[in-house]
Symmetry: D2
Amino acid sequence: MTMTEHEHPNQPPYGYTDDKAAYLRRLGRIEGQIRGISRMVDDDKYCIDILTQISAVRSALQSVSVGLLEEHIGHCVVDAAKASDEAGNDKVTEASAAIARLVKS
Amino acid sequence: MTMTEHEHPNQPPYGYTDDKAAYLRRLGRIEGQIRGISRMVDDDKYCIDILTQISAVRSALQSVSVGLLEEHIGHCVVDAAKASDEAGNDKVTEASAAIARLVKS
Amino acid sequence: MTMTEHEHPNQPPYGYTDDKAAYLRRLGRIEGQIRGISRMVDDDKYCIDILTQISAVRSALQSVSVGLLEEHIGHCVVDAAKASDEAGNDKVTEASAAIARLVKS
Amino acid sequence: MTMTEHEHPNQPPYGYTDDKAAYLRRLGRIEGQIRGISRMVDDDKYCIDILTQISAVRSALQSVSVGLLEEHIGHCVVDAAKASDEAGNDKVTEASAAIARLVKS
């Protein structure tokens, strides 16, 4: 078994896989919002209105992150903890680091 | 058994209890930092220097939160998931809501 | 003169207009990053690696926001304040509301 | 004239000075909230309830920051910009760096 960037006891599919279509739709909408912001800049729209749109995209991304985290904790972390305490601890530490990065971003 | 604000399968002590003394020291330091900020306002210190201190306190609080979350996931959530899928799912949903509140705060 | 969503004493071009090409490049890069995240979801990549990418995009958007705010304050707000105290106060209130939305997003 | 940590064209009192009593009350309340969180930890309260309180304190601090920034922009930044373009630009750059630190905190 070759190991990818993160060693994980489970292989794909991961927790979010069942909702893959929904995540792809949300990300597609976010991509469209970014294109809309580019158009606003190109059309010399008012700075504050552009900032409002950027805040909306940031919130949408944060909501995707919280959804992914929820499924990650409910599947990868819990499954690892059931397999062994050590594997569980590793997953908890890794998830906490991801939460810290999210809060700071 | 009477139920408190949140129903949880486990009773205290919780995951953070082992580190209680360390958490109390960190919170005591944060309380001192707030008092320092009050003194800066009282002494008419420069606004930007006050803002820098507030950002430092916010980061310190976020770091306490991530620590508590890590122990919460590693203990309460994992233990609930081992007890039953339903209890585990409830804890995961509750933890995700806390993460969402933290990111927005 | 018809009024747009926000009434502002100055008309375009705004402060960011000089850097329009740079902003469009940054937004184009962010759009590409979102597409990359969609591909990661589609390819069943590991949740934590996806979260890392989302945090990176959120930081990039925040950096665009701070840049726009800097130019907005340096141009629109300052120019309004030079025109009249009342116009200046309106712009400062509006900019503060945008900062509050950004911090919460 | 001796220069303090940040060189600024205006001397105290700064923009927030008029509201000093209100800021001190808000900071006093935040200090009390931190003490309440310490008591929760000491009494082994449920982790999620502690996290909710920490998020509330972080929001309260953010609200103080946005208030200080609003007055800083409306007074120090605008006054500097009226004095000279160079002084104004310096203040705008400094305020933007403070906003960036706040968003990341």
